[in-house]
Symmetry: C2
Subunit: 324 residues, 2 copies
Amino acid sequence: MGSCKKTDTVTATTSKDSTATVATSSDPLPSWNDGTLKKDIIAYVTKVTKEGSPDFIPIENRIATFDNDGTLWAEKPYVQELFAFYRVKKMVEAKPELAKKQPFKAVVEKDKTFFEKGGDKALIDLIAATHTGMTEDEFEASAKEFFAGAQYPGKKVPLKQIRYQPQLELLNYLRANGFKTFIVTGGTIELIRAISSDFYGIPKDQVVGTSFKYKFDDAKNAIQRQPALDHFNDKEEKPVGIQLHIGQRPVFACGNEGGAGDIAMLKYASGNKYPSFQLLVNHNDSIREYSYQEKDNLSLNTAANNKWHVVSIKDDWKKVFADK
Amino acid sequence: MGSCKKTDTVTATTSKDSTATVATSSDPLPSWNDGTLKKDIIAYVTKVTKEGSPDFIPIENRIATFDNDGTLWAEKPYVQELFAFYRVKKMVEAKPELAKKQPFKAVVEKDKTFFEKGGDKALIDLIAATHTGMTEDEFEASAKEFFAGAQYPGKKVPLKQIRYQPQLELLNYLRANGFKTFIVTGGTIELIRAISSDFYGIPKDQVVGTSFKYKFDDAKNAIQRQPALDHFNDKEEKPVGIQLHIGQRPVFACGNEGGAGDIAMLKYASGNKYPSFQLLVNHNDSIREYSYQEKDNLSLNTAANNKWHVVSIKDDWKKVFADK
């Protein structure tokens, strides 16, 4: 390594994470407006990475977890839902009689009340029916095909352009400072793994999500996806997913208000023995993104009570979406 | 980054993995005897990392998985068992009436027939009884205390010295060539995570293993370990654990004969679209390590039928155990 002794710690990130090193010079967060929040993020990262400081966090404990829907990309509608509809179309094309069976029938006939009445269970049934019963290799091929062609409703842009530009910069900034970045999503783990490296510079093994049961098929030498939910990675189940996959509490945790899905994860990070940072995205920008709030304001209230940091999309983000 | 442009890809490994960069000069595997196997390992790594070669594997797909017991350290007896006995001692000290209850009674009275008769189930019950019913933070503290004091029976050395020196070199060599190294063990995931970084340079999130069910305790803001098995990471369940945690097939998979536990993992790697390498450790050195074989020789026969590589400890390893 000769001439670069001092830089080894900084470059010591995972292979995909090495795209990170770009943003370190001058302003690491150019799409964030200058203000208290941006200052607080930079102050936190600076103090916990300063060797000898009482707040120093060893590199192996610099774990950062990000929710995905509404935190790294838009969630109106969920990309997971778009993929389920895409799968219905493909499956009905291949086997037209499916169009008479639920939940396929409701999708084909655009019967919204079926899902409104059915709630979470109807949605999970739809996802199970469209995401399982195939090998992992087949599922990944299907997901990649979907992402290559899909556009986001309303915005008419490829799905890659509904990623939040400021968050891409934040991921890069954290990685450039030795943080290992993870996605901890309520979405299904393999759908996000299909694009985590390309969209976010995050390798497949650093994605934690909702999973179905798997079975090793010895004759096919492949993993078969079973139509039974294994882990629903939302709310109190997010710390559970983090323990199983990461094995330690995050020091930096970022989620969003909208479905109260990230409170437990942010709280879990606050129990870390090292200084932690909680960040909650507030969707309050009806012009550039979307505006939606929880009826009881639980996420924002919890953030206020615990002095967690809140991103006001309207005020804190200079630019919302990535160009390409 | 200035002067070290060309070295970035080589140092692009995870933080703990950066201890890896040592072994690249001259002989990367000094504790391996010169011979066909050592030559084959080096030839494989060379060809798959050579850009432009038809065998080239992109860095994000260089996934290497290693079994632990009998592959990275000795398994006569299992360290997991020693830890369970240690926990029984601690638990009985704290609550003497436990000594009258099974499975504690059998351990206290050194009643081997109880476990011989009870088989896998009795062992899992013992592990559940001694490894759960506490928070993750408490479990980790207990595991670290155990490792700090324990000696390996027969050998009278600290547990760190039952690691295989040639395997530590192989892990380093793979990481220096951009492979991401994972432990895929039948042992319980948290016990190995307590030492994976210190013993093997492998971060916690790169350990896949047997797990119990977890529950997030909101009042304690902690994960509580439940006495119910979630995933028993052995045989056909190893590919399942790999899919859940890693999300792709390994290209390099290493296990050992003894309990036929790694055949499915090695087979799973052979289904990779990239060139793969299978390595099976044969425990045939009664003088320096142990000598034990499966009754039906299933692992060695499968290796022979599939042309997998076999480590003869007696012939291929110049030195077996790590000094410290």
